[in-house]
């Protein structure tokens, strides 16, 4: 396969060519999916430099492990799992996803969210999509790494509780508790942001 065929080739064809050592085919895969891989790294790390570095590391790992890709999921999903694992490793190294304070322990055991009043209005109603996305981004930035990670994996990656517990090396109960707190906190933050805007 020549370079001019790459843009029209399927991911599967490109993966097979890359497995034979074709760097051009792999470059095309990077070009196609780099935005998603980078975005996932940013959403988890909240730091652009870390995200660039980890996303590049993910591509290098992807190249090394191409033989292990069995086409059971899409190539993009497979690559996303690689970058998520790298981000989780990095967060663990930085001790950003461990229980660090009494406040957090309370959150995880269901103490703090009990005291939060239920948001009865939908804070996202009648908002332009770009405005809503910007507010969600601001709210996500205010969550702890552990809570944001669970939210990202569940809501954006559509991972099940069991998958998240495996990836984050914690119990399903902890995942449920973190997700519950993260959602409640997000709802409260979105209301606050709406008030600030008014």
């Amino acid at each position: 396969m020549s370079g001019k065929d790459f843009p029209n080739a399927t991911d599967e064809t490109l993966v097979r060519a890359a497995r034979r050592g074709d760097m051009g085919a792999f470059e095309e895969l990077v070009a196609r999916h780099r935005d998603k891989i980078f975005a996932r790294a940013v959403s988890m790390m909240r730091n652009e430099d870390d995200a660039i570095d980890l996303s590049q590391e993910a591509w290098v790992k992807g190249w090394q492990r191409l033989k292990q890709f069995q086409f059971e999921s899409s190539f993009a999903t497979w690559m996303t799992r690689i970058v998520i694992n790298l981000c989780l490793d990095q967060l663990r190294r930085q001790k950003r996803v461990r229980v660090e304070s009494i406040e957090m322990l309370d959150e995880e055991s269901g103490g703090v969210e009990k005291q939060m009043p239920v948001v009865t209005v939908n804070p996202t109603e009648r908002l332009e999509r770009n405005e809503l996305r910007a507010r969600i981004d601001l709210a996500l930035a205010q969550l702890t790494d552990a809570h944001r990670t669970v939210l990202v994996l569940h809501e954006f990656e559509r991972m099940e509780y069991k998958e998240i517990s495996k990836a984050m090396d914690c119990s399903i109960g902890t995942v449920m508790s973190r997700l519950f707190y993260a959602r409640r906190k997000m709802a409260a933050l979105l209301v606050e942001l709406k008030k600030e805007k008014l």
């Binding site: 497995r19 034979r20 050592g21 760097m23 470059e27 990077v30 070009a31 780099r34 935005d35 980078f38 975005a39 940013v42 959403s43 652009e48 660039i52 590049q56 590391e57 591509w59 290098v60 190249w63 090394q64 191409l66 033989k67 055991s109 269901g110 969210e113 009990k114 239920v118 948001v119 009865t120 939908n122 804070p123 996202t124 999509r129 809503l132 996305r133 910007a134 969600i136 981004d137 996500l140 939210l151 569940h154 809501e155 954006f156 099940e160 509780y161 109960g173 449920m176 508790s177 997700l179 519950f180 959602r183 409640r184 997000m186 709802a187 979105l190």
Partner: protein, 175 residues
Amino acid sequence: MTTEQQLKLQAYLDGELPERETRKVELLLQDDVEAAKLFAELKNTRQALAENEPQIKFPESREFYWSKIAQRIQKLEPEEVSETNFNWRRLLWPISLTAGAIAVCFLAVILQNPAANKSDAIASISPTSISTDVDAPVVESAQADSEAMTYEDKSDGTTLVWFSADENSAPIKTF
């Protein structure tokens, strides 16, 4: 509402509640206003997030980003690059190691046998032994015109040769 009930409410929303528990949660939602409000809040948040993931603009050009990945791939050890490619260097490695070991043994035998060293500079020296003990280190003076001196210690297989062309000269050959 207990924490357990709240988490079950959430699991129901996410489709992760076992079927035997579903009916209980549905009844709770019918009978408990607070539970219904909380369920609505969780549902709104879930929906808002699912449909509105923040869009992040990629900060680098395609070429620049790829060049850094390509560099890192090229720096990998050959066996790390791709297990599917047949690696000749992997095959040659034990052969070169064996050949190297044989060469070292061969050199050691040659150096231990003065008769085989006749063409070497050391062999051209006419020795004047200072010690006659076989195991003791031996210092040999060179012929007057060659201005060389040899130190040989058979116990640890060391031979040093000095050429005194320069009075500050250091040993130039070590075996």
